[in-house]
Amino acid sequence: MAQAATAHVEGQQHPIGLYLVVWGWLFILSTCSYLVDYFGFQGYLRWSLIVLFMLLKAGLIVAVFMHMAWERLALMYAILVPPVAVLVFVVIMAFESDYTRFVRHLFFGAAGT
């Protein structure tokens, strides 16, 4: 246990420069995602840019700041695979809300607006 702990301390020694570089990239990516709104991009261009910058930022934070890149695969997969289930949930709820919207249009559409 003690041995493992010391080995681990050695394992998480990274040069400060690495963190500064990641910090810089996070600033650049945040500025980019802000500019998406500032320039008023719309439609699929807007959504794909937002998601792209979001995933890059999230990846940098998890991999470098949270040191996930240096963990063993057993931990990596245990933590990073379960959130994939959320994507399934997203698809289910997208169908559900489409249906709700359709029914609302059907029954309230004429009376409303």
């Binding site: 963190y19 945040s30 959320v86 997203v90």
Partner: protein, 240 residues
């Protein structure tokens, strides 16, 4: 027997990679997470559960926004601030984003200096992180006040779909709570580092366990997670 058990806690001498290493670690009958201590592994598992909580909030937000027949208020205009007589879209949110990212940067460096036993720098960086976090919560308080004065309520708002208010208060409120708790724990951990608790192995008041500088990293994991959640909130709630 004891010796035998101890040697088995080390990673296998023959380096196994890829899927075989996962199978080897999980079937090793000892500890599955060989590179992480129990404290770190538990923090990761807690963060995973928190991920699901925030996912459910964002999902319910997606559901109400997709299913409403009333137009959704334009966040770009709702969160615009007048600076120098000019409306700048989302400017406060952008500043809050940069502040939270900066706090993550200082936290990452605090962890690093902790492992180098540089107590002074570790404490200074942790206090800087806490200050960034506190100013983030302060700005959120300003934002909430601003919106409430403009008439945003969980049940309605002047610009469009009623669900905007409830989603906004629920998601940012829960995130703000996380930041606040993080600031409190940052101050507690910074005090421990300052006192040298992790050098002399002083026992904690709650668990009676001796801490190590890995506590700073575990604290950092939580803090980076708060930043991570904000990345998703910023993208999905404010920019979408």
């Amino acid at each position: 027997m004891g010796d035998h058990a101890l040697t088995n806690t080390e990673p296998a001498a023959v380096p196994v990679t890829g899927w075989r290493s996962i199978v080897a670690d999980w079937s090793s009958d000892q500890r599955a997470f060989k590179s992480a201590s129990w404290g770190k592994a538990m923090m990761w598992i807690f963060l995973l559960s928190d991920t699901f909580i925030f996912s459910c909030f964002l999902l319910s937000y997606m559901t109400v926004r997709m299913s409403t027949t009333v137009p959704w208020p334009n966040p770009s205009e709702v969160f615009a601030l007048k600076i120098g007589g000019k409306e700048i879209p989302l400017i406060l949110i952008a500043i809050m984003t940069f502040i939270l990212i900066s706090s993550s940067g200082t936290m990452a460096m605090a962890v690093n200096f902790g492992y180098r036993r540089d107590r002074r720098k570790t404490v200074a960086l942790m206090l800087a992180t806490a200050a960034f976090g506190a100013s983030f919560v302060g700005m959120q308080g300003f934002e909430w006040t601003h919106l409430i004065l403009e008439g945003v309520r969980p049940w309605g708002n002047p610009w469009g779909a009623d669900q905007f208010g409830s989603s906004f208060f629920m998601i940012t409120g829960f995130h703000g709570t996380h930041v606040t708790i993080g600031v409190i724990f940052l101050l507690i951990t910074a005090r421990k580092v300052w006192r040298g608790d992790f050098d002399v192995g002083r026992r904690g008041f709650f668990t009676s366990r001796r801490g190590t500088y890995e506590n700073v990293e575990t604290m950092g994991l939580y803090w980076h997670f708060v930043d991570l959640v904000w990345v998703f909130i910023f993208a999905f709630f404010y920019l979408w």
